[in-house]
Symmetry: C2
Subunit: 217 residues, 2 copies
């Protein structure tokens, strides 16, 4: 009986994952889907009221990858001293403060300031005028270029060996390959694993919605 | 007198560049200016005739960094099945074949094919319609997204330790830093030292006209 147990133990040891197998599995697990954002707006109810009428409710068009987030049917025009851009998509639900996320090239076209910021970090950011079907709204701050970031659960951060707030580098191969530094880890509960970059970053590096991101650190 | 000579030799040795000083000088020499291109067009005389009238001569507005190249006063509209872009700058002088260099995002907006190509490599590239003040011209090929490249003299290539046609990587620091791979060395006579990227690449990496490029290889 002792012999059987010894044999069983040895067999189990042989069958157990070895150090040589683990890295491969880990690599597969470490691919992160990418979400490519064009310019868009998050509105507060105060600005929804001004642009679409008192008590107006935004209409969900399509769910986004982050739980509870969605693209709305409604769009607005955004205007700066040098130009305007029509049909900028609104993302819901409404937020405490209106946030206008534009491309770096839009900031030149519109003639507005748009510092590179993480979502919600709006103090001292740019001002702009929004035009809706029922009125306009001038916001004194809230215009930013989104700082690239990766959404993940705290448990996923442990798996990737990173922590909330950490700046990492991501790498890409291909004809227009390269790397992007200062990609901020946003590890909070109720997150969908996704790396968020804007269309200029995607185009510059040849990144498409099918590209898988790998953290290089 | 021998003593003076010996002393002089020793003094000169002390004053001569040491191994510790040289790398700094070399680094300064290895900084490359950047030229950031927006969408633009090189026209053949055949298309100039169609768009601006028979025998029309383009008007120089401003010299560019590459010897003999200049921005013209004239612009045209470019039209694809999905959209049009007005006021696209013409660069002179006229070339053998018309070449339309657009951004990746323009190709989506216009609905046209625009493969990533070096200047002049136009076989099988995209088609588009050009609209000028005196007529329109449909080109069956010539629409590309410019492949990033570095112009330099053959002597400069020797100094940088690279050769014509080589693909190198360039690196950037800063808030939106990173690297761009597959930057092609174009080492021919009568070149001005300059790294050419487009506005999407510049915006994605936080590159401005004052940024100096360093080849990482």
């Amino acid at each position: 009986m002792d012999n059987y147990e010894e044999l069983l133990t040895k067999l189990l040891e042989k069958l157990a994952p070895t150090d040589q197998i683990q890295p491969t599995k880990l690599t597969d697990n470490q691919q992160i889907p990418v979400g490519i954002s064009n310019r868009h707006i998050h509105l507060s109810q105060q600005e929804v009221d001004k642009l679409f009428g008192q008590g107006y409710q935004l209409t969900k068009l399509k769910d986004l990858s982050q739980p509870g987030q969605y693209a709305c049917k409604e769009t607005v025009m955004i205007c700066g001293p040098k130009g305007a851009i029509e049909k900028v998509r609104i993302l819901g639900p409404v937020r405490k403060q209106t946030q206008v996320e534009i491309l770096q090239s839009d900031s030149f076209k519109l003639g507005v300031k748009a510092p590179l910021r993480l979502s919600g970090d709006l103090a001292g950011s740019g001002n702009i005028t929004l035009i809706g079907p029922k009125g306009s709204a001038e916001i004194s701050e809230g215009v930013v270029v989104a700082k690239r970031h990766i959404h993940m659960l705290p448990a996923e951060a442990v798996r990737f060996g990173v922590h909330d707030g950490q700046a990492v580098t991501i790498e890409f191969s291909g004809e227009r390959g390269g790397s992007l530094s200062n990609v901020i880890i946003r590890a909070v509960e109720n997150s969908g694993l996704e790396c968020h970059i804007d269309t200029e970053e995607a185009n510059a590096l040849g990144i498409t919605p099918n590209t898988k991101i790998v953290i290089k650190k």
